[in-house]
Symmetry: C2
Amino acid sequence: MSSRVRIKDVAAEADVSVTTVSHVLNQTPHTRVNEETRRRVLDVAARLNYRPNRVARSLRTQSSGMIGLLTEEFATTPHAGRIILGAQEAASRNNLTLAIINSALQADAVERRDDVAALLDRQVDGIIYATVFHDVVSPPAELRTVPSVLIGARDRTRRVSSVTPDERQGARDAVRSLVALGHRRIGFVANTTDVPATRGRRLGYLDALEEAGIEADPDLVAEGEAEAGGGFEAATALLDRPGERPTAIFCYNDRMAMGVYRAIGDHGLRIPDDISVIGFDDQEPIASGLYPGLTTVSLPHYEMGAWAVDSLVSQRDGDRAAGTHRLPCPLVHRGSVAPVGVSPA
Amino acid sequence: MSSRVRIKDVAAEADVSVTTVSHVLNQTPHTRVNEETRRRVLDVAARLNYRPNRVARSLRTQSSGMIGLLTEEFATTPHAGRIILGAQEAASRNNLTLAIINSALQADAVERRDDVAALLDRQVDGIIYATVFHDVVSPPAELRTVPSVLIGARDRTRRVSSVTPDERQGARDAVRSLVALGHRRIGFVANTTDVPATRGRRLGYLDALEEAGIEADPDLVAEGEAEAGGGFEAATALLDRPGERPTAIFCYNDRMAMGVYRAIGDHGLRIPDDISVIGFDDQEPIASGLYPGLTTVSLPHYEMGAWAVDSLVSQRDGDRAAGTHRLPCPLVHRGSVAPVGVSPA
């Protein structure tokens, strides 16, 4: 289909055999080409803008220089772009090209196998399988015929390496930072969906309370849908309950925090003077678009993408140990947190 | 690298030649294989889970079944994911695989050429070149050696087809919808960056005023950075100016609208009762997360991705006419617009 210059064009122009051109351009070991010929071939190749046929090379080396990224329902995961960027930049550093296939959400096992097979057909050097809503998955067995890594979930059989965000540590650090500023009545605006993030963030909240000797108070927890509307309703419920109101609210995610801001405003309270708020996800444009800017916990999507590619490269180079890795979720400080009972200037 | 079953394994197991297996599996025309042999080959291939080598096929057919998407600074364009999804789903419908390469923003011409060359090396069947901040680009000449399409910008030489959003029509329709509800003092919170969207949205705003016989009033236009903070400052300036205040504000984008909401709230005004607001971009989670939900203009990113792939397929099939296409930007109605001077129940 393309009108590209072929190796035989270079050979004809340089007046040598195709084999000689191949030896020169591939720097094939243990072959002898005299220096003058070598120079001439390189000059001609440069002048004709010849590029070796990567496909022919793939066939010869059984390596395509390409890795496949299989993502689950790209559009609904706000940070999928960061995973792709991390993977793409790491691939580029390793002279690899990233091919992306987007599996439909809840694609059945057969479709998943087909997607993996489509990548294997292209002789990819490795496959990254990214998912978002599961703790543990059973990836197609074909995945293990090449180096492979899971992002976002562990392999049920523990034979494929995986990398996931440490949701629990992220939530623990967020709530710890509130405790360190004197907060003890710390509310939690939780979501209701049964996904790993729900459980991890709730456990982290409880960890931080426990280590501070603060008894968990069910009256300080309210649930809602993981959107702005759900956050508004949950925070309204928290603030309308009888008894002392919370001095800080930790939110399941930034979208809920967006609704929590509105509920706090509707109650005539100010952030962070009257109530501190922390989100989770560091989802732009919410986190810096809210006023004041939202202190939140960042997910290591870019880092997971890059980690996955580096792991494929290690596996290709002989490292066969499968493991489960959690990457930390760092706290990002903006303007929504203040010491308890202290109004900033 | 992979431990895959090869065609010779199938041939050995079925006790036929490799050529026979190839003819059966490729349904090669004008070849004769008796029905019993054909069945046996298919059975063995299925039993061994044999998959034909796509790489070898690429070499033979000069077609890889793969198309390349070259994107500019993926991470900073909130909707790049929608372009990818549109392209990926259209590719899938056409039995093509999408490979994505992310060029650094402002990558120089040499790097761009290298990225195109990397895709050509893999014998891609076509290349989509997506950009965001330019009206017109000069893509590398190598792009034209295969079917190619630009997303988001036109080709300076008009030799490569392009697809862009109709920013002007989107803005015109938004402001028209305000005029239709009786608004005549329609403010514009504009951005300051010199990108195609800035010019198109401003022209659309002016178009709608002009066709309604409303004189453009510079006192109703305020500029700011295209973020929530810039929108807050611009709207504050608009609302603090002496004279009658606007009854509606059209915003350059949803992020600015987020700040406009806050400025309106700070002035003790309600949306949409006192002021209607329309954004642009339909950027989630802002658009549905704001209260009330933001009426805004949607960008056809998914559609542009799909259009680009369909265009590559047409080009591959012989259509060589390059053209410039604009896809419409539809108005998305939520809760931030009301007739002028009427408070909804």
